[in-house]
């Protein structure tokens, strides 16, 4: 028979997995919208956004409750702290995805830019890093954390390069300025989504090892 506290923590874990899954689907939608693939109804996306917000509030509520009523310690304490941090990060990912979807509507003639400058690859990597982060939490796999940091670095490098290229293109072809600018913003958002994923990975590291790390430092160590 699970104790009262264990039941609450189990509930919490389930909600984090759920909200992570929802965020993952939002990122997929964002990617689709940028790459001009068929997307879901605007209504559906909005619904998911609301769900994410609600779950974020619920996570806060449960964590507050557990703090006040159960006095968690050690790994339980780290879990609760991490849960609150991760929830915020996931909620931002959801927000950013929504922004990207909105932006995409104004990126006309983007296909050329996209194919010219490797945007597809970046987008796929962002999808991948999101999925990896969810998997990392579910399995509590420390090795995946390294992967996530590496992926983030790759996305950063690639998006910086792509941005430079698009700026160059905009300079030479003024017709591409509007699409180009929006695409650059979208790329920035993708970049930040990847960042939030690494923040989540840091929280997972904290849960496992009771140590705080910064992903930049980790890579430097390597």
């Amino acid at each position: 028979m699970a104790s009262h506290l264990e039941t609450e923590l189990g509930k919490l874990r389930g909600i984090i997995i759920k909200i992570g899954g929802l965020a993952e689907s939002q990122v997929a939608e964002a990617v689709k919208s940028v790459l001009s693939e068929p997307v879901s109804e605007g209504k559906e996306v909005k619904k998911t956004e609301n769900k994410i917000d609600k779950l974020d509030v619920k996570i806060d509520d449960i964590c507050q409750s557990v703090f006040a009523l159960q006095q968690p310690v050690a790994s339980d304490l780290r879990f609760i702290i991490s849960a609150m941090q991760m929830s915020k990060e996931i909620e931002r990912i959801g927000d950013l995805s929504m922004s990207i979807i909105k932006l995409s509507k104004s990126i006309k003639e983007k296909h050329e830019l996209i194919s010219k400058f490797n945007i597809t690859e970046i987008a796929r990597e962002v999808e991948f890093i999101t999925a990896k982060t969810n998997e990392c939490f579910q399995d509590m796999d420390e090795d995946m954390i390294q992967e996530i940091f590496a992926l983030n670095n790759s996305i950063r490098t690639k998006s910086t390069e792509a941005t430079q290229n698009i700026i160059g293109e905009m300079k030479s072809n003024s017709k591409t300025v509007v699409s180009g600018t929006n695409l650059i913003i979208a790329l920035k958002h993708f970049d930040r989504i990847a960042d939030h994923c690494t923040n989540i990975a840091e929280s997972i590291y904290f849960m496992i090892n009771a140590k705080t790390i910064k992903h930049e430092k980790m890579i430097d160590k390597k």
């Binding site: 028979m1 009262h4 409750s65 006040a68 009523l69 006095q71």
Partner: protein
């Protein structure tokens, strides 16, 4: 109509007023914690619910207390029957100097149950219910005093539950126990909630947080605040409550 309803209860020990105008109602199958500093009246209030204060000379009560809609201080109430329905567990474990089996059987015997089989069945079931069976199944005929403090207290809970009360009153049931026994009993309370209405007096606030659905904060014989436990511990309405909860006084 709630399971336990008190209205405008005042209580006096001789000239000294111990409770002031307490109105409090508790729903069925909930755990209500009564918290507050020493001498605030929470134990006094608890003992009104099964009329244990009747045992003290020179006391007076005004106001009313209804259980299942019946005024328990009314003329038609038989006190022994009331106590059969409202069980009590005390601060210091107090099993009788009898065998483990007889401790639990005592309540059945004094309530008219004589059938040997029935007694045996109820004793076993109740001991299982308090998660004590595995530890005592081979020594039912041994003295209850051979058990540890935590086991004795669980035995006392079994003793109270054997006569199938609907309400269980607990007066600081774990204050004399070590942390592991305490947490075992807290888990038990959490489980018993489904079948019983429980009122628990505790001077350990964290315990109130862990086990109860609702919490009543008493101070100097007054009911300061009564709300869902979660609210009391996250956003108490009264400053006094907040000061007590955060340890700034009491």
């Amino acid at each position: 109509m709630h399971k336990i309803e008190s209205q405008n209860v005042n209580f006096y020990y001789g000239e000294n007023q111990a409770l002031h105008d307490i109105s409090l109602s508790m729903k069925e199958n909930t755990v209500t914690a009564l918290i507050g500093p020493s001498g605030c009246g929470k134990s006094t209030y608890l003992r009104l619910l099964n009329r244990m204060n009747d045992l003290i000379d020179d006391t007076k009560m005004t106001g009313s207390i209804h259980i299942d809609g019946t005024d328990i201080y009314g003329n038609s109430t038989n006190v022994d029957n009331l106590r059969k329905n409202v069980g009590m567990v005390f601060q210091k474990p107090n099993p009788f100097p009898k065998t483990i089996f007889e401790n639990v059987a005592y309540g059945l015997r004094v309530n008219g149950i004589t059938d040997k089989k029935e007694i045996e069945e109820r004793v076993v079931t109740t001991i299982e219910q308090v998660a004590l069976w595995d530890e005592v199944k081979d020594k039912l005929k041994k003295s209850a005093f051979e058990l540890s403090g935590g086991q004795q207290q669980r035995l006392c809970i079994a003793r109270a539950l054997a006569i199938k009360p609907s309400i269980l009153l607990m007066d600081e049931p774990t204050s004399a126990l070590d942390p592991i026994s305490t947490s075992k009993i807290e888990e038990l309370i959490y489980e018993l909630k489904n079948k019983y209405t429980i009122v628990i007096v505790t001077h350990n606030m964290q315990q109130a947080g862990r086990v109860s659905d609702n919490t009543a904060f008493f101070y100097m014989g007054n009911l300061i605040e009564y709300d869902k436990t979660k609210s009391i511990f996250t956003k108490p309405a009264k400053k006094q409550t907040e000061d007590y909860i955060t340890g700034r006084f009491g």
